[in-house]
C-alpha cells in the first residue's frame, strides 16, 4: 500500500511540476533526451535488444510527454513551485566525483549482452572490455576494482540513465558522435576500442571487394546506423543491393547462416565474434573494406569537469602503462625505478593524483588491480578468447596504432 501511496504522490508532484512551467526541468532538454533515446533504439552497438516498433514508442513517449502539462490547477499546490529541477546538472559546483567518493562505489552502465565487451557470466559477474574499464575507474577511485555496481542498460535508455544520474559513467560500447556530444548532453572520454562496420560473405562466392556485391542480398539490422551506413556507402559506389532487414541480431545471423542472404554487415568486432558461431566458420570471410568509423568511448554527463577528468585520465593510465611496459605483474618492481616519468606516473613523486582529487598513486592502483590496455584487451578479445581479434588500430601509437596518452606531469 505504501508503494502505491508513494507512487500516487510522485504522479501528483509530476503533474504539478510540469504545470509550473518555470520550476519544471528544461522541457527542451527532456524532449531532446527523449528524442535521442528513441533515435538510439536500434543503435548498431547494441543490437541484441529487440525493441518494439521504434516509431510507435517514439510516438507514445512524445504523446506521454505532451500530455503531461495538464491543466491541473497550478495554484492548488503552490508549495511545490520552488522545487529544484534538473537533477543531473551540477549547477552548484558539486561534482559527481564527490557523490561517488561519498557513496563508496561506482555505478557503471554497461550493455550486459555483448560478448567480449560486457556480458553476464554464469557466476553472476560481468566480464568484457567495457566491464574491465568500469573496474579501472573503480580502482582509480577506491583502489578496489570490485567497488562497482554494474547496471545493464538497453540502447534506448543509456543516455537518459546518465542524464538522470542513475549511472555515474557509461561504458556501453557507445559510438562517439558529434550529436551525442552536443545535443544529447554527453561528454566523452578517450576511445577504448576503434571499431568499424564490416561485411562478411560466404567464401565460395569469391568476393573480395564491395563492388563485387552488386545485386547481392545483404542481411542487416533494421533502423540501425549500420543500415544507414550500408545504404550510404553502396549509393556512393553506385551498387544496387537488396537489404534483408531483421530486428534482432540473433535472427540476422541465423538468416545469414541459412543462406537467406549473400552477405551480412555489422561492426567488425561483432562479425568476427559471430563468425565463430556459424555452422562452418571457415566458409566465411570478412572483407577488408570498412564502411564506417565506430570509435567506442566512455560517456559521462556534460559540464562536470572534475568527474570527466577522472574518467578520461583513468583510461589514459591504461594506455600509458602499456607504453611504459608496466603490467599488473611487474608494476611493483617499478616502484623504486629511477625513471622520473614512471615515478611520477606511479605517484612515487609529484602530485599528479592529488590534482584529480584522488590518491596520488591512483595509476598504480589501476595497473596493479586491472592491468594495462594490452592486458585488458588480451583478456577479453585477444588470442586466448573465442574472438582472437588482431589489435589493428587498437594498438599503441608506437606500434602503428591509435592509442596515445598525453604526458602525466
Amino acid at each position: 500500500m505504501q508503494k502505491v501511496c508513494v507512487s500516487g504522490a510522485l504522479m501528483i508532484m509530476l503533474l504539478v511540476l510540469s504545470a509550473c512551467g518555470a520550476a519544471a526541468p528544461d522541457p527542451a532538454a527532456i524532449s531532446q533526451a527523449v528524442r535521442e533515446t528513441v533515435a538510439a533504439l536500434p543503435a548498431p552497438e547494441a543490437p541484441q535488444v529487440s525493441a518494439p516498433d521504434p516509431a510507435a514508442i517514439a510516438q507514445a513517449v512524445r504523446e506521454t510527454v505532451a500530455a503531461l502539462p495538464a491543466p491541473e490547477a497550478p495554484a492548488a499546490e503552490p508549495a511545490a513551485t520552488p522545487e529544484p529541477a534538473q537533477p543531473a546538472e551540477p549547477a552548484t559546483g558539486e561534482s559527481r566525483l564527490d557523490t561517488v567518493l561519498a557513496r563508496g562505489n561506482l555505478i557503471c552502465g554497461v550493455s550486459g549482452s555483448l560478448a567480449g565487451f560486457s556480458n553476464l557470466e554464469p557466476d553472476g559477474s560481468y566480464s568484457g572490455l567495457d566491464a574491465d574499464y568500469c573496474r579501472v575507474v573503480a580502482a582509480a577511485l577506491f583502489n578496489d576494482p570490485d567497488a562497482v555496481e554494474f547496471v545493464p542498460l538497453s540502447a534506448q535508455e543509456r543516455f537518459t540513465a546518465v542524464q538522470a544520474g542513475t549511472v555515474d559513467v557509461l561504458f556501453r560500447n557507445t559510438t562517439w558522435t558529434a550529436s551525442r556530444d552536443t545535443s544529447v548532453f554527453m561528454d566523452f572520454g578517450p576511445t577504448i576500442f576503434y571499431d568499424g562496420q564490416g561485411m562478411m560473405v560466404r567464401a565460395d562466392l569469391s568476393i573480395a571487394t564491395l563492388e563485387e556485391l552488386d545485386g547481392a542480398t545483404i542481411c542487416v539490422q533494421s533502423g540501425t546506423t549500420t543500415e544507414l551506413n550500408l545504404t550510404d556507402q553502396f549509393r556512393a559506389l553506385n551498387i544496387t543491393f537488396t537489404p534483408l532487414v531483421f530486428e534482432d541480431i540473433d535472427a540476422t545471423y541465423t538468416a545469414y547462416n541459412e543462406q537467406q542472404c549473400d552477405a551480412v554487415t555489422s561492426d567488425r568486432s561483432q562479425l568476427i565474434a559471430r563468425r565463430t558461431t556459424l555452422a562452418e566458420p571457415d566458409a566465411h570471410i570478412i572483407l577488408d573494406a570498412v564502411l564506417s568509423k565506430e570509435p567506442l568511448a566512455p560517456a559521462v554527463a556534460q559540464n562536470d569537469s572534475r568527474w570527466t577528468d577522472v574518467v578520461v585520465w583513468s583510461v589514459f593510465v591504461t594506455f600509458q602503462a602499456e607504453e611504459f611496459g608496466l603490467t599488473s605483474e611487474n608494476v611493483d618492481t617499478f616502484l623504486d625505478t629511477e625513471n622520473p616519468d614512471i615515478r611520477r606516473f606511479l605517484g612515487v613523486e609529484g602530485e599528479v593524483g592529488i590534482g584529480f582529487g584522488l590518491e596520488n598513486d591512483f595509476a598504480y592502483s589501476i595497473v596493479k588491480n586491472v592491468g594495462n590496455y594490452g592486458e585488458i584487451y588480451d583478456r577479453n578479445l585477444g588470442p586466448d578468447t573465442p574472438f582472437d581479434l588482431a589489435r589493428g588500430p587498437n594498438d599503441l601509437w608506437t606500434n602503428g596504432g591509435l592509442l596515445y596518452a598525453p604526458p602525466f606531469r
Partner: protein
C-alpha cells in the same frame, strides 16, 4: 431430482479400432482431415524433437541455471530463496488438504514434479539442490496431511487464509533480508525467474484491492469519486503498458528530482500495479453491473447501509463472477513482466537473463535453447494459475448462476 431416477447410459467398451472408426474415420471428410492432421503433426513434432534431443546444445542452460532461476542473488544466500519455495509449497499442501477440489491436481503434480527433479539424473545441479527439491515435495505432502487432518475446523481454515495473506510480506522480507539478522541483498541482484515472480505476484496482490476500489468508485454517486475513477481507468487503459513502464523506469528521474534513488523494482511494480488495477477495475465493474437490482433492494429492506450492502451482498457475488476474467488478466500480467527488458531499468528477469546468457562468449548465438527453456518455465506457471482458477470457478459455482 428427476435425473436420479433415469438409468445411466450404457457403458461403451473401450475398443481402439472402434474408437478410431467412430471418432477419426466416421466419414470421408473426417478421414481426410485426420490424415492431414497426422501429417502436419508429424512434420512439426519430428524436426522439433530431433532438434531438442540431438541438435540443441543445452549446456548454455545447464551452465547458467542459477542465473536463470535467481539471477545474481549471492550463492551463499540462495537458501533464502529455497526456504521461500518451501514455505509456499507447505501452504500449497495445506490448501490442498483443506480445499482439495480447488487445488485439484496442482498439488500432486507439483509433488511429482519436485520429486522427479530431485531424483532424475539431470546433470543440471548438485546434491544440495536435490535435497531442497525433495524437501519441497516433503513439506507439500506434510502440509497436505495437516490440512486434511484439521481442515474441518473453521479456525484452522481462517488461519490458512491469513497465512496466505502473510506469506508474501514474509517471503519478500526473507529475500531482501533485514539487518542485523540477515544481510540485505540489494534488489539489483535479484533476477531470473525469482524476479519474474516477485514482479508478478506483488503486482497481483496490490492491483486487486485498488481495482475493486476503482470499480466501486466509478459507480459511485459522488461526482468527485466517480470522475476521478473514470479518468484514472481510461488514462491507464488508453496507454500501452510499455509506455507506462518507460515512464516509471526511465523518465521519472528526469521529472522528479531525487527519484533516481528509488528502487527500480518498486518503480516497475508501481507501474504494473497502476496499469493492471485499471483493467481489474473494468472487470469488476462488469461483475457489479450483472448483479440484479433486487439484491440492492433486498439489502436495503433488511436495513443495511450502502457500505455494508456493497461489502456483504454485492461484492461477494460480483467478485465471484469476475474470477475468469481477472485470472486471465493476471496470467497476461505474469507474461507481461517480460516487458521490463524492453522498457529498461537494468532488471534481468527470466527473459532478460535468457537473452543475456546467449551472449556469453562460450555460448554465443545459443539463444534458441535459452528462449525455449524460458518459454517452458513461463508455460508451467501460467498453466498452473489458469488451472487453479478453473477449479475455483467450478467449486464456487460461477457457471451455475
Amino acid at each position: 431430482m428427476a435425473l436420479e431416477t433415469q438409468t445411466a447410459p450404457p457403458k461403451v467398451r473401450l475398443d481402439p479400432v472402434r474408437w478410431m472408426r467412430d471418432n477419426l474415420f466416421s466419414s470421408w471428410a473426417n478421414s481426410i482431415l485426420t490424415i492431414v492432421a497426422v501429417v502436419l503433426l508429424y512434420s512439426i513434432v519430428q524436426p522439433a524433437s530431433r532438434w531438442i534431443f540431438t541438435q540443441a546444445d543445452w549446456t548454455v542452460v545447464v551452465a547458467n541455471l542459477k542465473l536463470l532461476m535467481v539471477g545474481q542473488y549471492p550463492l551463499d544466500q540462495v537458501w533464502r530463496v529455497w526456504l521461500s519455495l518451501l514455505l509456499t509449497m507447505a501452504m500449497l499442501g495445506v490448501s490442498k488438504g483443506v480445499w482439495s477440489k480447488v487445488v485439484g491436481n496442482v498439488g500432486p503434480a507439483y509433488v511429482l514434479g519436485l520429486t522427479l527433479l530431485a531424483v532424475l539424473p539431470f546433470p543440471l545441479y548438485g546434491l544440495t539442490n536435490r535435497l531442497w527439491l525433495a524437501a519441497g515435495a516433503a513439506v507439500l505432502i506434510g502440509g497436505w496431511w495437516l490440512g486434511r487432518r484439521y481442515g474441518a475446523s473453521p479456525t484452522f481454515r481462517n488461519g490458512v487464509s491469513w497465512a496466505w495473506v502473510l506469506l508474501l510480506p514474509l517471503v519478500l522480507l526473507l529475500l531482501r533480508g533485514i539487518e542485523p539478522l540477515l544481510p540485505v541483498i540489494p534488489t539489483r541482484a535479484w533476477g531470473g525467474l525469482l524476479l519474474t515472480f516477485v514482479l508478478a505476484i506483488t503486482t497481483i496482490v496490490f492491483s486487486f484491492p485498488i481495482g475493486v476500489l476503482l470499480a466501486v468508485g466509478r459507480r459511485s454517486s459522488l461526482p468527485a469519486v466517480s470522475i476521478f475513477s473514470t479518468i484514472y481507468i481510461e488514462v491507464f487503459r488508453g496507454v500501452p503498458l510499455v509506455t507506462v513502464l518507460f515512464m516509471f523506469l526511465i523518465m521519472l528521474p528526469l521529472f522528479v528530482p531525487g527519484s533516481e534513488s528509488t528502487d527500480n523494482i518498486i518503480r516497475a511494480i508501481v507501474g504494473f500495479t497502476l496499469f493492471t488495477a485499471a483493467y481489474i477495475a473494468e472487470n469488476v465493474r462488469g461483475g457489479l453491473q450483472s448483479i440484479p437490482k433486487g439484491q440492492f433492494e433486498a439489502a436495503k429492506a433488511v436495513g443495511l447501509n450502502p457500505f455494508l450492502t456493497m461489502v456483504l451482498i454485492i461484492l461477494p457475488q460480483a467478485l465471484r463472477i469476475v474470477i475468469p476474467s481477472n485470472v486471465s488478466q493476471y496470467v497476461s500480467l505474469y507474461k507481461d513482466t517480460a516487458l521490463v527488458v524492453v522498457a529498461g531499468g537494468g532488471m534481468l528477469e527470466l527473459l532478460g537473463i535468457s537473452r543475456n546468457i546467449a551472449n556469453q562468449p562460450e555460448f554465443l548465438g545459443k539463444f534458441i535453447e535459452a528462449l525455449v527453456f524460458a518459454g517452458v518455465l513461463y508455460w508451467i506457471f501460467a498453466f498452473s494459475m489458469s488451472y487453479i482458477a478453473r477449479r475455483l470457478e467450478a467449486e464456487m459455482g460461477v457457471s451455475k448462476r
